[in-house]
């Protein structure tokens, strides 16, 4: 049985934040979970996927976040509690659905889980999704601890039903990826079938209907405001003339800071958990009589702006600060010592001395940037594209996935990136507005997610570029989740259909399609040349399963290779491929036999054929064993 199904109310389990949220959803009787994987929310989806295999919960990896949002919206409108799960930028994809869903509302509880990523540990921007709640006029809850993450998730469904609106549950990386003891509540058996009662004059958003719906949304906003004012998630602790207003994980840093400074009788803290609509009366009541206010939040001055509005409306004159010089930055994460320092300086309290180490004589340590794995087929594809291009200079629009790591030399195969699917859309522009050859790269999962409209656009508008679809048979970057092109039957998951990439692009009308195996270097280069020379849109499908995924599925791996004495030290292998299994020792290239997957790409690149398979049983793999993965 999955540990999240443990039926022992009151028992404490050590859970990851994402698991605590999943448990909260199960305690709310969630019947439908839909998602597109994205760090830092991926383990939440994985947990519910695993649970769905043991229960009646309907779970799907949707093709993208917009569809996930739409699935959850219709589920909730049939009376089945639902959750749409995505990372912060995923909400951009789903925003079109979300904005109007706020008008249409829901029947059963629906939670939109957005996981923000301050500092961009694994994201392309650090946008602050709290503004989505404001823009959509939707209620928003923000947990500060994991215990609260479970409890708030459960309560979010009730709140959603009370208001008839989806509730935004907003977290940041340090909630999703923290671990702590979480006490369990009671699991609720889900409703997994409901019914849809037709009422087109409330559900079909033509202008006349939407005008009515907007009025209703504003009424619900007022009701939500009243609920926020009395919410137990907005609470005051401590006492004193100085006031701190905070939310999310920052509240933990504030509590620790005030305790460390022994200032519990000088500083009172308003912790907001129900942050939209803002409880302006509660905020004004907190401000009254205080000397100075510090707003502690990551990202944008979302709360700070609210507090300033609340003060103005209540006619309270008080110094309110949060972001700015000597205070907090809009960039990155906060940390406990930083919060303590700013809090102490703002309120004129003596800070604790932190003894730092002088690092001046520490030598520079070679960087350890993330790299494509040993045997990664993307590395071979990038090498082959360069060989196929010859001395032609090309622009490489890229996309979101492991292959983005191709930006580093010597692969140098990424020149421009905005978002999921942007490789295809921007390729058209680079082809139109430069005289350079354009070769765009997109992964298989990203192709399904947001690549297809760009291809249709390129065909219709007759753009001239080559699109390389890197098909490694999985969504590798986020932990090997499936996508519509995956053979689910073979992975032991019956009941799915498979959508073949070739069928899609052929059906769209792409005339030039070549399929290559990146492990076959010469053949791939020849085929790629043909596609590159083609005038118009050509597509190369470079297909080879992700070796990490293969290993996880316990497929047989190849023999490791060795560099033999024939080596003349040209170093084409290390200099052009930079495979992490290769290293230079005493001026000679060597291969780490436990990392080598036997892909044989280096052997084909070597001018002397000096790299040969080791004639022994493959050794046990000891590196990069995945610890958290989907299958």
């Amino acid at each position: 049985m999955h540990k999240l199904l443990t039926d022992a109310p009151g028992k404490k389990l050590l859970l990851l934040g994402n698991e605590a949220i999943a448990r909260g959803a199960l305690e709310a009787g969630i019947g439908c979970a839909s998602t597109y994987p994205g760090t830092p929310s991926s383990e939440l989806s994985l947990a519910l996927f695993e649970v769905s295999r043991e229960t009646d919960l309907y779970f799907e990896y949707s093709v993208n976040e917009k569809v996930a949002m739409e699935m959850a919206a219709s589920s909730a409108n049939c009376g089945v509690r639902s959750m749409a799960i995505m990372k912060h930028v995923g909400v951009n994809v789903a925003a079109d659905a979300l904005m109007t869903l706020a008008y249409v509302g829901v029947k059963a509880g629906m939670v939109v889980m957005t996981a923000d990523d301050p500092f961009m540990f694994s994201s392309q921007n650090e946008q602050d999704n709290r503004y989505y709640a404001k823009m959509a006029k939707l209620p928003m809850l923000e947990p500060s601890t994991l215990e609260e993450a479970r409890e708030m998730t459960r309560a979010a469904f009730d709140l959603s039903e009370e208001l008839g609106e989806p509730v935004i549950l907003r977290t940041t990386t340090r909630i999703n990826h923290s671990t702590a003891a979480v006490s369990l509540g009671e699991i609720k058996q889900p409703e997994t079938k409901g019914d849809f009662t037709k009422n087109p004059f409330w559900f079909v958003t033509v202008p006349a209907v939407s005008r009515k719906l907007h009025t209703r949304l504003l009424e619900r906003w007022k009701k939500a405001e009243a609920l926020a004012e009395k919410s137990s998630y907005n609470r005051v602790s401590g006492a004193g003339e100085f006031g701190v207003i905070t939310s999310g994980v920052s509240a933990c840093y504030v509590n620790d800071a005030v305790a460390d400074l022994s200032a519990r009788d000088r500083v009172s803290i308003l912790r907001l958990g129900f942050t939209n609509p803002p409880p302006k009366k509660a905020i004004a009541a907190f401000l009254a009589g205080k000397k100075k206010i510090l707003v502690v939040e990551e990202g944008e001055p979302f709360l700070e702006e609210t507090v300033k509005v609340a003060a103005q409306e209540a006619g309270i004159e008080i110094s309110i600060a949060g972001k700015g010089e000597g205070l907090f930055s809009r960039e990155g994460e906060l940390d406990p010592a930083q919060v303590r320092r700013v809090l102490a300086s703002r309120f004129g309290l003596p800070d604790l001395a932190v003894q730092k180490i002088d690092l001046k004589n520490v030598p520079e340590i070679p960087a350890r940037p993330p790299n494509l794995c040993a045997g990664c087929p993307h590395r071979a594809t990038f090498y082959e594209i360069y060989r196929a291009l010859g001395d032609r200079e090309a622009v490489f629009p890229t996309d979101i996935g492991c292959y983005t790591l191709g930006l580093l030399p010597p692969l140098s195969s990424a020149d421009f990136l905005l978002c999921m699917g942007s490789s295809v859309g921007t390729a058209g522009g680079f082809a139109q507005f430069t005289d350079k050859k354009v070769v765009a790269f997109i992964g298989d999962s990203t192709f399904f997610h947001a690549g297809i409209p760009g291809i249709v656009n390129a065909l219709f508008n007759n753009h001239d570029f080559t699109l390389v679809i890197l098909d490694n048979a999985t969504t590798a970057m986020t932990g090997h989740q499936p996508h519509p092109g995956v053979d689910m039957e073979a992975l032991g998951h019956p009941g799915y259909n498979r959508v073949h990439i070739e069928d899609v692009i052929r059906g769209l009308g792409v005339k030039k399609i070549v399929v290559t195996d990146p492990y076959k270097v010469r053949k791939s280069i020849e085929a790629m040349k043909e596609a590159i020379d083609y005038k118009g849109l050509s597509v190369i499908i470079s297909r080879r399963e992700c070796p990490l995924f293969s290993r996880m599925l316990k497929r047989k791996s190849g023999h490791p290779f060795v560099v033999t004495d024939k080596c003349q030290n040209h170093r084409v292998c290390v200099d052009r491929l930079a495979c992490p299994a290769m290293f230079v020792e005493n001026g000679r290239v060597r291969i780490n036999g436990t990392m080598c997957t036997g892909c044989a790409v280096c052997a084909q690149v070597c001018p002397e054929n000096a790299i040969l398979p080791l004639k022994e049983e493959p050794v046990a793999k000891t590196v990069a064993e995945p610890e958290k993965d989907a299958f």
Partner: protein, 195 residues
């Protein structure tokens, strides 16, 4: 209970997340409050994996620079790189088995000498416990058990408010059965080595 802060650094695949999980489980079973956080977005791609564990009375799941009471390094150069997390009173436990990054293999940067690493660590912190975790893991019968060697060494210092028995009990229930004998042996070799 005064907060004790432990930072663990490793290279993807060295098993520090499992080590953190075992230690966290031991804390839970011992009713010691624990908050942990980890950054492992690109861990599978050879990057650095860092875990922070805060035991005792604190709410924050992360540890600011200079605030680690114990720094546990699974790879010597990574231990040195994480020195900004330590302060002059910190105890450092580090494996001495290097895993040079591929950038060094490509000639971009030089992997520091082991002697330099250890003398720098000793110069700047209160106590350094170096041990060849990879060799001890091999001796225990499983090269993947270096994480358990390091847990053993950590327990020996008695700096973290979790007993050896609690960690061994958590290992029992939270690591693979087939690896258990080697894991136990690895833990005890690490425990001995940290004397």
């Amino acid at each position: 209970m005064k907060a004790v802060r432990l930072v663990m650094v490793a290279v993807g695949g060295q098993g520090n997340l499992l080590a953190a999980h075992v230690l966290g489980q031991a804390a839970l079973e011992s009713s010691v409050p624990v908050h942990m956080s980890e950054i492992h977005g690109m861990a599978q791609r050879g990057g650095v994996v860092e875990s922070a564990m805060v035991f005792g009375e604190a709410e924050s799941p992360i540890i600011s620079d200079g605030c680690a009471d114990v720094l546990l390094g699974f790879e010597p150069a990574e231990t040195l790189r994480a020195l900004n997390r330590a302060n002059p009173a910190t105890t450092v436990i580090t494996s001495t088995s290097p895993l040079p990054p591929f950038t060094a293999a490509l000639g971009k940067g030089k992997y520091p000498e082991m002697g330099t690493i250890l003398s720098l660590l000793k110069e700047k912190t209160a106590r350094v416990i170096p041990l060849d975790a990879a060799a001890l893991a091999r001796r225990a019968g499983n090269p993947l058990a270096a994480n358990m060697v390091l847990l053993g060494a950590l327990c020996r210092t008695e700096l973290v408010p979790v007993t050896k028995e609690a960690v061994l009990a958590a290992m029992e229930t939270h690591t693979k059965k087939s690896f258990l004998p080697a894991n136990r042996e690895a833990f005890s070799l690490g425990f001995e080595a940290a004397a």
